[in-house]
Amino acid sequence: MSHDTLFAEVTDPANRADPYPLYARLRETPVSRQGDGSYVVSTHAAIRGLIFDPRLSSEDLPPSQRPPTGNPFKDWIVNPIKNRVVNAHRPLIFRDPPDHDTLRAIVMEQFTIPRVRGVHREVEGIVEDLIDKLQGRDEICLVEDFSYPLPVMVICRLLGVPEEDEEQFQKWATVLATALEPDSRGDEEARHATATAFDAISDYMRGLIKEKRKNPADDMLSGLANPEPGKPAMGDFDLIASAILLLVAGHETTVNLITNGMLTLIRHPEELDRLRRDPERAPRLIEELLRYEPPVHFRTRKALGDIDIAGTTIPAGAPVILLFAAGNRDPARFADPDRFDPDREDNQHFGFGGGLHYCLGAPLARIETEIALNALVRRFVAPRLLQDPPPYRPGASLRGPEKLGIGLERIA
């Protein structure tokens, strides 16, 4: 059978619960041209070659185009200006060097050791609180009750968003997360919702930055808004884009990682028991989880030049889909790849992507997931899945359960 429609099957929600057999078929052609002219890259070696290839660009977003509102002032004056601002100040995951590097370095500076340690304590507190609230219930939805609220609360505290605004932030994050989903780009309604949420959160951030300049605190936004003299700084538009990115990119991904983690552990009860007995196993287990059920299955890029790889030439200008989750299950790289094995050695997965866009929040995600999974296995007594497979959200890239019903004997 021809492989040029396989990726369409990947994006088909019907295959969301188990896309891995499709990935195995895609890997038969490491770089496979699809009917729409895009190239899907699915083996570990080919992905690895491309993420370190300087001809692969992340500036693959179409120009921002706000849908017409019918209001001439908005359609002819305000929105074109907004579009221009958005195009010129994309968040750094959609930027190439040198701008990407400058922005990333500035953001990285803010992930200071004391701040990350502080996050550790915050996460411990939030996790125990969230689980305490479930006392007395014998059925819960892990996504709604736990995985979903946690990352937003953490990123809000790290950024310095006041606690009373966290709920509003959660709502924006939900809408904006779809903006990272490559297959939703064409959807008019989604674009409209994204633009509205984007404007609202941008206005909010502008105000918050002003506040952080007036009353700086020890948080990332204060750090970004008040650069030390002589150090590289970013303008306000980039600052807003970066703050939104931290919120959005750190949100649904972490939700997926924690939810997939618990799902995988309940499916592998012996591993759940081992983790319960030995919390120190968590780091290894999370690395394997990032390989086995990664929170982000693919990202898109654009070829700037003709790229020869794995017997195929990707022509300049072609969209490239790096199917990280398929590389993670490549039998040429991982022995027995469909087995969940936390004791796996040399586990060089693409769970956080790779190359220069390697996940900026990886350390944070590891901390959150470690604390979360350890607390969940410690406190959930006899957890079982109410529905397996669970229902999934529509996204094929940011793939994760929409709900994860778990039945419990009790909460310890």
Partner: protein, 430 residues
Amino acid sequence: MSADRGVVVVGASLAGLRGAEALRRGGYAGPLTLVGDEPYQPYDRPPLSKHVLAGELRPDATALPHLVDLDATWRLGQPAVGLDRAARMLRLADGSALPYEKLLIATGARARSWPVTEKTGPLPSGIHTLRSRDDAAALRAALAAGPKRVLIVGAGLIGCEAASCCRDLGLAVTLADPNPTPLARILGSRIGGVIVSCLDTAGVDFRPGTHVDAFEADAAGRVCRARLKQGAAIETDCVIVALGATRDTGWLAEAGLMADEGGLTCDVACRALDADGQPAPGIYAAGDVARTPNPLHVGRLAAFEHWGNAVAQAGHAARNMLAAEDDQQEYRHLPAFWSSQFGINIKGVGLADGADTVAVMQGSRASRRFLAVYGREGRTIAAISFDQARWLPAYAERIEAGVAFPPILGATDQSIKDFGVPDFPQPRSR
């Protein structure tokens, strides 16, 4: 292998240690002896010119981790002084002799010292080199005492790293070199010019085209001045002589091997060659001391003072030491090095000298963040990155494949407006 003789590794160095470990990993269970002229367990050199000078790391905190339980006999503080190949005996400074079945020579190199002749008389005190742990400890103590002006003679990698550290310590520094820019021999002056701008920003007094002729001492015998060939003088109370290294092969003078201060010549399988150019039975070499043919540079022998080469070559030599005579594999290695100075991470692959063109492929020299490639006769032979190391593997692959110059067109942040002659100095007269 004869059970009582076993393997002797000369040089308790990075190459020596990793070579010994590779022997054990390869299944060698017989007697193993490591001989070292310094009294220390093998240590890591790269931090010596960086963190140790800066006072961030104690010199004795540089010991290399042992990756394998070696179960070896250590003869430390015991220089090898001679080799009797006929009797397969290694002679040590204390008069003892070690029998060997197989020998791995990893004696490395030593800092090229300031020439002392009858005419110059003895050197004043306060003149340092930087190669060993003791060198670094002495220099660190001298820098911590707060000299008025440090003079660094030689603007190669070590000279530049030392200059960078001295400025971080707030010390006044003069850096003198006969070439127009630092790193001229390694990278050429076109790229070396970027370091000139770093020196300028950092406040280093850089003196290009400068030949230091002699040092003068004060009444206490301490260095107080460097006299220049051009007649002028530089006032200094602390000198770092950074003129490169000579291979530690003096002890092999009578051994009948192809050895001189440029290295011990080996074949592609890391076997030491005798005076007739034949592999000497049972004798292998690895690391800085080993001068080998390089598949990327046909007809040219080179010894690399590179950390990665020491590890890889020692592992390869160990493999061949354990293999049968008819299963000696060729050592293929793409040279690679790194340096950190003036807040910049510099990484290079391939051999740039001998290039006829250099082109900035990504970034720009002005921003001090770039990747440049070197070409010779239309072929890509080397690449250097300043704070752009992540792309280096892509270029390394193409250098190994010998692709046309320039490679990788259509990269992000690419303009290719900046290309030209690399400006290497004339070869050093020997």
